[in-house]
C-alpha cells in the first residue's frame, strides 16, 4: 500500500515507520516525520475545513505557521484540543483529527448556505443587523452569535497532561535556525557567549532544507547538520527544536512555547506535554525568516490552491505532491524553484508570470527544462467547489487593469507567489519602529528599542551570501559586546541562484461582468469587496478597517493577509502604504495552549497551601477544612451526620458551657525588636503604647493614612525592647509590608527591626468557663488564678518541658488563654490539651464556631474591617488616643468622617427569631420598596446565636446605635429573601465584657 501522492526517495520522512491516524473518522496512514497536513495530502485529501463566515470548503494553503485554513480538532491520549494547525502538528500513532465549523460533515455542510447568501453577510454584518430591536439582544441575537462564533470546541474535561514552566538566561538568543540563525549562533558560540538557538519546526535548517544552494560545497541541509552538531557539542549552547518564540516583552524577556511531548508516542509520566519558557536574553537575534504572500484572485480560497513555497516544502521535506497538474502563478522568481522541483520529479507545471518577458538564472533553467512559461498572464479565477479542477486565465493588458483575452485551462492545483513578507512580528513586539521598504513592498525593522537585531530574510535580506555574512558578523559583534572576546571566523563560501526583480502586482482585477469572491483573509472570510465596503462606509484608520472587517483577526493573525489588506486600502485611498501604516503586532505570534500558560499551577498547586503543625490531628478527627487566606483551617469537626450548622452550634455551645480548643497557628505574628519599638508601636496603633509594661498584652487598631482600618490584633511586651505582634490571618503579609514601609521609608531614624514569626510558633486557644481549671492541670506549677494571671497578661511557662508563651487574651469573649509553642512542638501541645481536656468536656472547635462566638460578642473581624470603615464606624472610638499622633489620624477629622449619618455597627435579629439573614443583605426601611431604593446599610456577619438560640447578625447601618429598637428589612434580591429585623446592640452577649475578666 502506498500513498497516492507520495514520491519515492524524496523527503526526510522515515519510510520504515508507518503511522496510522484518523481524519473525520476514516483511517489513513503516513510516516514518521510527516505533519498531519503532509500525511493527508499524500493521501490526496485537500478538503480540511470550512471557512468561518460563509462555510466555504477550505484546504491547506501553507506548510507552517502561516497556515490560515487548516485548523482541526485533535483527539489524542484522552484530551481534545481545538484549532490546531494541521501544518504544524506532527503525526503520531493513534492521533485523530476532525474538521471544524461544519455540520453535519465537512463534505456536506448546512452552514454553506451562508455562501449563497453572501451578499447579505457583508463587512459589519453583525453590527448592522443585531442593533434593533433592543429587546431581541439577550434572547435571540446573543445566543445566535454565540452558536455561530468560534471554530473548534473547547473541552470541558479536566486536562490531565503535564505542562511546565522554565526560566532561562543567556547572552544571546537566536530565534530561528535558517541560514541567518545558524550563522549568528555559530559565530557567537565560538566566541564563548552563552547562546540559545531555537527552531519552531521539528528539524533545524529553515530554508536550507528546501532551497537549492550550497555552502562550503555542502548542500544546505548538510551544512545545517554540521553546524548544529558542532553547536550541540558546546557547553555554552542550548538548542531547542519544536520551540516557537511567541512573545517579546520588556527588558529583553522573551516567551517561548516548546512542544516537548506532542510528537512522542509513549512519553514517560514526567515528560511534560508542553513547556513554556521565560528567557531573559542580553541580546536577541531575530532570524525569523519571511512568509510568502499570496496574489489575490477570484475563488483563491478553493482547496488545491497553495503558496508556492508550501508546495515546495511538501515536496522536498515530505515527498508529497500537492497536485499532478500544477499551475504556478507568480510575480517573482521564487515560484520557479517550485516549478523546477515539480519538473525534476516528472510533473509538468505551467507558469503564469505577471511580468513581461523577464530574464534570470531561474527562468533560464526553467526554460531549459522545458517548462511552459506564460509571461504577462494571471489567474482570473479558480474553478471547482471542493477542489480546484480548472482555472480561467488571461493575458494582462498594458496597464494590468484588465485582460486582452480569457481562456480556461485544466489543473489540479495552483501554486501562488506574490513575493515575500519579512516576519517582523517579534521585532515589532519588542518596540522596533518598522519602516516600509519600497523595493520589497513590505515593512522591515528599523529603529530598535531593546537589544535586538534582525538578520536575513526577517530583515529583508533575501540572498544567502549576504545573510550568511551578516549572521557571522552580528553573531560575533554581539557576543563580543557581552563577553569582550573577539573571534574572527572565516565566512563560508555560498552558491545560490540569482533572483530577478519581482513585479508590484498583488491583486488580479475582475473582468467586467464577473463577481468572483477574491479573498484577502481566508480564515475570517474577508474579501476585497468587504474592505472596499468598509472604506466606502467611511472607515479610514487601518485599525478600524481591521476591526470592522475582521481582517487579520483570526487565529493566524493575518500572517498571509495583512500586507495585501494594506495594499488594497492604500490603492483605494490613493495613499502610499507607509501612510496607511500597519496594525499592531501583538503576542502570541502563534496560538499557545492555556495548559502551557498555566503550567503546573493547577488544582492544589495553584497556590501554596499552608498547614499548621496540628493539621494531621485535625484530619484524623474528621475536620472539614476551609481556605483561610493561604491556610487550610478546620471549619468544624464533623460528628456523625452533622451539618455545618449543627457542628458549629455544638462546638460554640461547648465553649460557652465548658471549654473548647481552637488551632490559632494561622494568626499572623511579627517579632519586633529595638530600642524604639514602643515609639514605633505608638505611631502605628491608634491607642497609647508607651506605657505598656513588660508581661502585658494590649489590643490595638491600625489605620491606613486615609483613616480606614487596616487591621487589629494584640501586641505583647515580651521584654524591655521586644514585642510580639499578632495580626489577622488574612492581613499578615500586608501588615508586615506596611511596617517595613514606615521603618525604611518614612521614619528610618527609628531603631526597630521587624520580622515575620508566623511559622515559628504554633498556637492553641483554650476558651470557656472551664479553661482555667484545664490550664491549672496543664501548668500545675504556674499560678493561673485571676489575681496571679489577670486578663491581658503574659508569661513564659514550661509546658511539659517545652518552652511556651502563655497569653490571657480572648477572641471568643469567654475566659480564655492562648498558648504558643515552637512549631515543632505544636502537635504535642495540641494532643496534650486534648488528652488533659477530656476531664473538662473539652471539644475542639473550628472557624465556624469561632465566628459564631465573636459575632454574638460583637467583636469585629474581616467582614467589618473591609477597607471602608473607620474606628468610630465600629464603635471603637475608645481606641483612639487624643494625645498623640498616629498613622491615619489626620484623616479622622475630615468632614465626611464625623458626620452623624455615617453607617455604623449594630446588631440585628430577625423578628420571627427563626430566619437566618444572608450575609451581604441590604437593609431598607420599606417592605414594598421599589428599585432604586435607598440602602440604609448592609449585613456584614451572620451567625446562629448559641446564647439566645436564634439568628443574630452584625450590620453596618446609617445612624448606628440611634437605630436600636427600630424595625428594618434585610433584603437579598438574588436570594429573593426579605426578612423583617429588629436593630439591637452589636454586643449581643455579655455587653460589659465580664466573662473575659472572670
Amino acid at each position: 500500500m502506498t500513498n497516492p501522492y507520495r514520491l519515492e526517495n524524496v523527503g526526510f520522512i522515515n519510510r520504515d515507520k508507518k503511522i496510522s491516524f484518523k481524519f473525520n473518522g476514516k483511517e489513513y496512514f503516513g510516516f514518521k516525520g510527516d505533519t498531519l497536513a503532509s500525511a493527508l495530502l499524500s493521501n490526496g485529501i485537500h478538503l480540511v475545513g470550512r471557512s468561518f463566515k460563509y462555510h466555504r470548503p477550505r484546504g491547506f494553503f501553507g506548510a507552517g505557521v502561516d497556515e490560515p485554513n487548516a485548523k482541526v480538532q485533535i483527539e489524542l491520549n484522552g484530551y481534545s484540543e481545538p484549532n490546531v494547525n494541521a501544518t504544524e502538528i506532527e503525526l503520531v500513532e493513534g492521533i485523530s483529527a476532525t474538521s471544524q465549523n461544519c455540520w453535519p460533515s465537512v463534505n456536506f455542510d448546512i452552514g454553506a448556505i451562508n455562501n449563497l447568501l453572501n451578499r447579505f453577510f457583508p463587512a459589519g454584518f453583525y453590527y448592522k443587523t443585531f442593533m434593533w430591536p433592543k429587546s431581541f439582544w439577550y434572547k435571540i441575537y446573543e445566543p445566535f452569535i454565540r452558536k455561530a462564533a468560534g471554530l473548534g470546541v473547547a473541552s470541558i474535561e479536566k486536562d490531565n497532561e503535564r505542562y511546565e514552566h522554565k526560566y532561562e538566561y543567556c547572552d544571546l538568543l537566536v530565534t530561528g535556525s535558517g541560514p541567518a540563525g545558524l550563522a549568528s549562533a555559530f559565530s557567537a558560540a565560538k566566541s564563548g557567549a552563552r547562546v540559545i538557538l531555537v527552531e519552531d519546526k521539528p528539524m533545524f535548517g529553515g530554508s536550507l532544507l528546501t532551497d537549492d544552494v550550497t555552502i562550503d560545497n555542502l548542500s544546505g541541509k548538510e551544512w545545517a547538520n554540521k553546524i548544529i552538531s558542532e553547536l550541540e557539542s558546546m557547553p555554552n549552547v542550548i538548542t531547542r527544536k519544536r520551540s516557537q518564540v511567541f512573545g517579546y516583552y520588556d527588558h529583553n524577556m522573551v516567551a517561548m512555547f516548546e512542544r516537548t511531548g506532542d510528537h512522542l508516542n509513549n512519553k514517560s509520566k514526567y515528560t511534560p506535554r508542553q513547556r513554556l519558557w521565560y528567557i531573559r536574553a542580553k541580546e536577541v537575534i531575530l532570524s525569523t525568516g519571511s512568509i510568502e504572500r499570496p496574489i489575490v484572485f477570484g475563488n483563491n480560497d478553493t482547496p488545491g490552491i497553495f503558496l508556492s513555497s508550501g508546495a515546495k516544502e511538501y515536496l522536498k521535506l515530505y515527498g508529497v505532491l500537492v497536485g499532478k497538474k500544477p499551475l504556478i502563478f507568480t510575480n517573482n522568481d521564487s515560484a520557479y524553484e517550485t516549478a523546477i522541483e515539480f519538473k525534476k520529479n516528472g510533473i509538468s507545471p505551467i507558469i503564469l508570470d505577471t511580468r513581461e518577458n523577464h530574464e534570470s538564472d531561474l527562468i533560464n533553467e526553467s526554460k531549459n527544462l522545458g517548462i511552459e512559461i506564460k509571461f504577462n498572464y494571471a489567474v482570473i479565477a479558480a474553478h471547482g467547489y471542493k477542489k480546484v479542477n480548472s482555472a480561467t486565465i488571461g493575458k494582462l493588458n498594458n496597464s494590468k487593469t484588465g485582460f486582452e483575452n480569457k481562456e480556461k485551462i485544466n489543473c489540479d492545483c495552483i501554486c501562488v507567489s506574490g513575493f515575500w513578507t519579512p516576519s517582523v512580528h517579534l521585532a515589532s513586539q519588542s518596540g522596533n519602529k518598522l519602516k516600509y521598504d519600497k523595493d520589497l513592498d513590505a515593512f522591515i525593522p528599523n529603529v530598535s528599542k531593546q537589544n535586538e537585531v534582525s538578520v536575513g530574510a526577517a530583515n529583508g535580506t533575501f540572498n544567502l551570501k549576504e545573510t550568511i555574512k551578516n549572521g557571522f558578523q552580528k553573531g560575533s559583534s554581539l557576543s563580543q559586546k557581552v563577553t569582550g572576546k573577539e573571534v574572527n571566523l572565516p565566512v563560508p563560501q555560498t552558491n545560490e541562484k540569482k533572483h530577478g526583480k519581482h513585479d508590484k502586482f498583488w491583486c488580479v482585477p475582475l473582468p467586467k461582468g464577473n463577481n468572483y469572491k477574491r479573498f484577502v483573509d481566508f480564515q475570517n472570510d474577508v474579501a476585497v469587496s468587504d474592505i472596499e465596503l468598509a472604506l466606502r462606509e467611511g472607515y479610514r484608520s487601518i485599525e478600524h478597517v481591521k476591526r470592522y472587517t475582521t481582517l487579520g483577526m483570526a487565529t493566524d493573525q493575518g500572517k498571509t493577509s495583512n500586507l495585501n489588506g494594506l495594499q488594497l486600502v492604500s490603492n483605494i485611498e490613493n495613499k502610499i502604504v507607509p501612510e496607511v501604516g500597519h496594525t499592531t503586532f501583538r503576542p502570541p505570534f502563534t496560538p499557545v495552549t492555556i495548559g502551557a500558560i498555566v503550567g503546573r499551577e493547577t488544582g492544589h498547586h495553584y497556590m501554596p497551601t499552608r498547614k499548621s503543625p496540628m493539621h494531621k490531628w485535625h484530619k484524623d478527627n474528621n475536620a472539614v477544612f476551609v481556605d483561610a487566606g493561604v491556610w487550610l483551617r478546620p471549619r468544624y469537626y464533623k460528628v456523625g451526620n452533622e451539618t455545618l450548622q449543627d457542628a458549629a452550634k455544638r462546638e460554640a455551645e461547648n465553649v460557652r458551657k465548658n471549654v473548647g480548643v481552637c488551632d490559632v497557628t494561622t494568626l499572623g505574628k511579627i517579632d519586633i525588636k529595638g530600642p524604639d519599638s514602643a515609639e514605633f508601636l505608638n505611631r502605628v496603633y491608634t491607642n497609647a503604647w508607651l506605657k505598656l509594661p513588660v508581661g502585658k498584652a494590649r489590643y490595638g487598631l491600625m489605620l491606613r493614612e486615609d483613616g480606614m482600618l487596616l487591621d487589629d490584633g494584640t501586641t505583647t511586651r515580651i521584654s524591655e525592647n521586644h514585642y510580639h505582634m499578632t495580626t489577622t490571618t488574612a492581613q499578615a503579609a500586608n501588615v508586615l509590608t506596611h511596617l517595613e514601609y514606615y521603618l525604611q521609608v518614612v521614619w528610618p531614624e527609628l531603631k526597630v527591626n521587624v520580622v515575620s514569626s508566623t511559622e515559628q510558633w504554633a498556637g492553641a486557644a483554650i476558651a470557656g468557663p472551664k479553661s482555667r481549671d484545664l490550664l491549672s492541670k496543664l501548668l500545675p506549677t504556674e499560678d493561673v488564678t485571676n489575681d496571679g494571671f489577670a486578663f491581658m497578661h503574659y508569661k513564659e511557662v514550661d509546658f511539659f518541658g517545652v518552652k511556651a508563651r502563655l497569653f490571657r487574651i480572648s477572641f471568643s469573649g469567654e475566659l480564655a488563654y492562648e498558648i504558643n509553642v515552637p512549631s515543632d512542638s505544636g502537635l504535642f501541645l495540641w494532643e496534650k490539651i486534648i488528652e488533659v481536656g477530656k476531664n473538662f468536656n473539652l471539644q475542639p472547635y473550628g472557624t465556624e464556631a469561632l465566628s459564631t462566638l465573636r459575632i454574638e460578642m460583637g467583636h469585629v473581624a474581616g467582614p467589618e474591617l473591609d477597607g471602608r470603615t473607620i474606628p468610630s464606624d465600629l464603635s471603637l472610638d475608645g481606641m483612639i488616643s487624643k494625645k498623640k499622633d498616629f498613622i491615619g489620624k489626620r484623616s479622622l477629622s475630615k468632614k465626611d468622617f464625623i458626620k452623624p449619618e455615617r453607617q455604623k455597627i449594630v446588631g440585628i435579629v430577625p423578628v420571627d427569631k427563626k430566619t437566618s439573614i444572608p450575609e451581604g443583605s441590604h437593609l431598607v426601611d420599606d417592605k414594598n420598596f421599589k428599585l432604586p431604593a435607598k440602602k440604609l446599610g448592609h449585613v456584614s456577619s451572620s451567625c446562629w446565636s448559641v446564647e439566645y438560640n436564634n439568628p443574630f447578625s452584625l450590620a453596618i447601618v446609617a445612624g448606628g446605635k440611634t437605630m436600636i429598637g427600630k424595625k428594618l428589612f434585610a433584603v437579598a434580591p438574588l436570594k429573593t429573601s426579605s426578612i423583617e429585623v429588629e436593630v439591637v446592640s452589636s454586643h449581643y452577649v455579655d455587653p460589659k465584657g465580664e466573662r473575659v475578666r472572670s
Binding site: 516583552y249 520588556d250 527588558h251 529583553n252 524577556m253 521565560y278 531573559r280 518596540g431 528599542k449 505611631r683 493614612e705 486615609d706 509590608t737 517595613e740 514601609y741 525604611q744 521609608v745 518614612v746 528610618p748 498623640k884 499622633d885 489626620r890 484623616s891 475630615k894
Partner: protein, 89 residues
C-alpha cells in the same frame, strides 16, 4: 516583564517586587499642623508623569527592602536604582 536591579541583591525579575508608588511623596511630620488640602494631596493626589518617574519598589519576595527606581513610564526603561537613603538625580 521588567528586570530591576535591587541595590542589595542585583538584577531580579519584576515578579519578586511590588510597586510602591511615587518616591517623591513626603509624609507630613507627626503632630504637624496640616490643612485639609495638604493632607488630601499627601493621601490621594498623585502625578501620572509621562516619561521619567522616581518610584518606590518593595523587594517583597527577596530582601524585603524598599528601594528607589527611576523609570520611564513610556518605554519602561530603568535608568537607575538606589537604596532608600541614597539620592537619585
Amino acid at each position: 516583564m521588567l528586570h530591576i536591579k535591587c541595590p542589595y541583591c542585583g538584577l531580579r525579575s519584576q515578579k519578586e517586587f511590588s510597586y510602591g508608588g511615587d518616591a517623591n511623596v513626603k509624609r507630613p511630620k507627626l503632630n504637624a499642623e496640616v490643612t485639609d488640602k495638604e493632607w488630601d494631596d499627601f493621601v490621594y493626589m498623585r502625578k501620572s508623569p509621562k516619561g521619567h518617574h522616581l518610584e518606590l519598589w518593595h523587594h517583597t519576595s527577596g530582601c524585603r527592602q524598599w528601594i528607589k527606581v527611576k523609570r520611564d513610564t513610556i518605554t519602561h526603561e530603568i535608568y537607575q536604582t538606589a537604596k532608600i537613603e541614597e539620592q537619585i538625580s
